[in-house]
Amino acid sequence: MELNPLKESNDEYKYYELFIGPNHPGIEGNFSYVLKMKGHSVVEVTADPGLLHRGFEKLMERRLWTQNLALIPRICVPEPDVNEVAYCMGIEHMMKIEVPKRAQYIRVIVLELARIASFLFGMSGLGGTTGHYTSVQWLVGDRDYILDLFEWLTGGRVYHIYQYPGGVKNDLPVGWLDKLSEYLDYLEKRLPEYDKFIFQNPIIQKRTVGLGYISAEDAIENGLTGPNLRASGVMYDIRKAQPYLVYNELDFEIPKTGDGDAFSRVLQRRLELAESIKILRQCVKQIPDGPHKTKVPNPFQFRVPKGSFYSKVESSRGEFGYYIVSDGDVKPYRVYVRGPSYSIGLHYATKALVGMRIEDVPVWIHTTDMCPPDFDR
């Protein structure tokens, strides 16, 4: 009888297939990984997208330039504003529209609020996968106040459809900035509680410290962007390196964690949340008076000059890009959407999850904060 446990046998029950998703609390959105398992360990990973595919890129070719604004927020559900801003910035660059200062400040406020909301939502997902359910309720509860602010500002809680080429649709309501400051005061008081309860919690630390290490070379080679890249030690932020809107007038830092493991990815997001609060406070102080939009042609005569442009925005997950091609018509000729989760979700995860234990897979997925709607678009 063979007693060597390391020798491979031909037992057909040795390997089994396990679906993580499409309807699973350990995955974000309707997307699945098919894992080939041996005991507790992952042997092979296959990404299986398609359930969320809505064909946005094709749909955009059939709609007017401005009609698309109601369509594209759906590409990334937890943080829809980056789509609108990146798309509008692309159009404005191609049409050479000058956006008023006040509108740019409002855009920064909306983007940073959306970033905070998305960070809170992403970090609450980590609580779900580690069995730390109180953090889910805390963080989602605090995110709800942001949705209230958005509802007052734009009329929508999740999808805002607030940006428009040349500015924003409406000016800030009277008293909105005071309410925003009140919320920021509240959130700042909550941050030490989060630290004590979530980030210094032995359960979270035990599950995330040292898990899924990504080196700086790996991160660049595999196209990771945003907090995942910065957590690996590459200090690149589009807001600093290629400043858009009014980010060059605002004073903020890029926090450095640089260990590359799952815990540093979570910590990176937590530290960036504090920076976003700092940015918002400056915006409240510095926002100038003036118009919130410029005059643009009416939607049926809205033509973008011939050409192409790649416009990008730093979202809470990384670089969100729109490659826009126009042939001078009232509709876009082609729009390509670069979602920040594409490279990590469809490519890097199939390599990084191999060898991992089954209970770590959802934790890894949540610490990278991937968003399947933006690659399964």
């Binding site: 080679e221 590459v234 192409s308 790649y310």
Partner: protein
């Protein structure tokens, strides 16, 4: 920052600025690999995306490679054209392993063959037998009219979709 553009122009390639932080390079199909590997050596190490534009009137597909340099804070957009009939191009997965999934997507949505990519299986779509859907000659309206039934009396006042002209 103009240095890199001048060096590319010295290689007999067309290059121009698109914005403050990005430039485009137009390269023939057979010089794509050398252009991309030259740019990778120059610091454009991060692969950001691969897209395709269907220029149906010219009978060409334009492949668009978006790559980024973190040191220079620049984005390079490398474009190359291939014929629309029998679109075949070399795979770039030896330069970036990441290209494999992007090429798989372009294969599915445009029907482009990438020589050297072993993994061109169906990706997002399921049992798709029609024209690749992101091509300009794929008619979404005709497709949905064929697939779904729109009966006047059963639509409860909802009209079937109409094309915006």
């Amino acid at each position: 920052m103009d240095d890199i553009l001048n060096e590319i122009k010295a290689m007999d390639l067309k290059a121009s600025w698109l914005g403050d932080w990005e430039f485009e390079v137009l390269t023939p199909k057979d010089r794509l690999a050398s252009t991309l590997s030259y740019l990778k050596l120059k610091g454009f190490k991060a692969f950001m995306g691969l897209s395709c534009v269907d220029w149906i009137e010219d009978g060409t597909f334009e492949l668009v490679y978006i790559i980024q340099s973190y040191d220079l804070a620049l984005e390079a957009i490398v474009k190359t054209k291939i014929p629309r009939q029998k679109p075949v191009i070399e795979s770039m997965r030896s330069l970036w392993g990441l290209c494999e999934v992007y090429e798989r997507e372009m294969h599915e949505f445009f029907g482009i063959e990438f020589v050297g990519n072993p993994n061109l299986k169906p990706f997002f779509l399921e049992n798709w037998l029609d024209t690749p859907p992101l091509r300009k000659d794929f008619d979404t309206l005709a497709f949905s009219e064929e697939l779904f039934e729109f009966k006047e009396d059963e639509t409860h006042g909802i009209k079937p979709p109409k094309r915006i002209e």
